[in-house]
């Protein structure tokens, strides 16, 4: 992970997963939702996380994979406030983050 500014912590706990170079401050809570098989892999439909903005989508994804290792290697995209974002785009704020797998079958 290249992120020098990622603070992804569990709601209410201050259990910072990756806090290198993060100043001691609080960020607004962001709702993170998981769809399809990602709910089982993450163990939850949704959770509240403290995310340090701005953050690049790819870094956010890496942090989520660090929190939920079963997500690693899974194919999914990330939507921010109901808009699907490219992995190299920067998020400056988010009320809701959604992790979206694609369903291939017919």
């Amino acid at each position: 992970m290249t992120g020098a500014n990622i603070a992804l912590s569990i709601y209410g706990g201050g259990d910072v997963l990756d806090n290198h170079a993060v100043p001691l401050q609080h960020y607004p809570m962001t709702q993170v939702r998981y769809f399809g098989p990602l709910t089982e892999l993450s163990g939850t439909d949704e959770e509240q996380l403290e995310i340090a903005f701005p953050i690049i989508v790819g870094e956010l994804r890496a942090a989520l994979e660090q929190k939920h290792p079963a997500l690693s290697g899974q194919s999914f995209r990330i939507a921010v406030d109901a808009v699907i974002r490219e992995s190299n785009s920067t998020i400056t704020a988010a009320g809701e983050v959604a992790c979206l797998p694609a369903f291939a079958g017919g």
Partner: protein, 264 residues
């Protein structure tokens, strides 16, 4: 309008369309009759989508599917029965759809659809013919589709590599793709108008997405196919914009939730 389409237009006034005819604008009716619907896949999505579409109008269909019917298909592929096992689905679908609406013009191709197979077949094909006057067609032998001014590609495929194969064809035809995808308890649909491709909706690596998990609940393709039909009707009303052009609609069949996420 061609003479053929005039006849279809007259037929479209028939009693069997009475319950919904007035709900469609003249523009939508015109487009329904003048579009060649190129259907990629006659499986769970294809069966459900087509069973609805042929009830709406005497549409023109090309149905492409290389597979034969297997027993596990019977949980969701609503056009088929156990007596059909081992038969090509593209042929079965044409038979069953013609029985539902003998007014359709349909042909089945027991092949995968892509730009190469489509062009090879259409360049080799002789001009389409109509049955001689006074010789009614049987429900299981619909006439061939004729050349139509509009085309639409209905994505009822079961893998992303296969979808990568139909995108160049849609681009060549200037046709929208009505996408559906299903797996487990979940499904998604979106509409790719001609200026967009799968990479816009699913990311640049879309063709490398893993194959679908085998389990699938039977109602999931029914829901997604219904949404695809709704999109087709929206496109017939307004080909420049539909509710799901640029929007991915996700369905969670356990929570009964529909989510809409913009991809442009």
């Amino acid at each position: 309008m061609s003479k053929h389409t005039d006849e279809l237009h007259d037929e479209f006034h028939g009693e069997r369309y009475l319950r919904h005819y007035e709900l469609l604008s003249e523009q939508a009716r015109h487009r329904l009759l003048n579009t060649r619907f190129i259907v990629a896949g006659a499986g769970g999505l294809g069966c459900n989508l087509l069973a609805l579409l042929v009830r709406i109008a005497p549409v023109q269909l090309e149905i492409w599917d290389p597979a034969v019917l297997d027993a596990p298909d019977l949980n969701r592929q609503v056009l088929y029965t156990p007596y059909d096992l081992g038969r090509p689905k593209a042929e079965l679908a044409v038979e069953r759809l013609a029985a539902i609406n003998p007014g359709i013009r349909a042909v089945g191709h027991v092949q995968s659809l892509n730009a190469h197979t489509y062009n090879e077949l259409h360049q080799a094909a002789s001009p389409p013919t109509k049955p001689p006057q006074g010789q009614p067609q049987t429900p299981t032998q619909p006439t061939q589709p004729t050349q139509q001014p509009y085309s639409a590609v209905l994505d009822c495929l079961d893998s992303f590599p296969a979808r990568a194969g139909i995108e160049p064809l849609a681009r060549e035809l200037g046709a929208p793709i009505f996408h559906g995808g299903v797996e487990l308890w979940f499904g998604q649909t979106t509409t790719l108008l001609p200026e967009f491709g799968y990479a816009d909706a699913f990311g640049p690596d879309f063709s490398a997405k893993p194959p679908a998990a085998k389990p699938i609940m039977p109602h999931i393709p029914a829901v997604i196919a219904s949404l695809q039909v709704a999109e087709i009707l929206s496109w017939c009303e307004n080909p420049d914009s539909t509710p799901l052009s640029g929007v991915l609609c996700l369905y969670d069949g356990r929570q009964h939730r529909l989510e809409h996420l913009r991809w442009r």
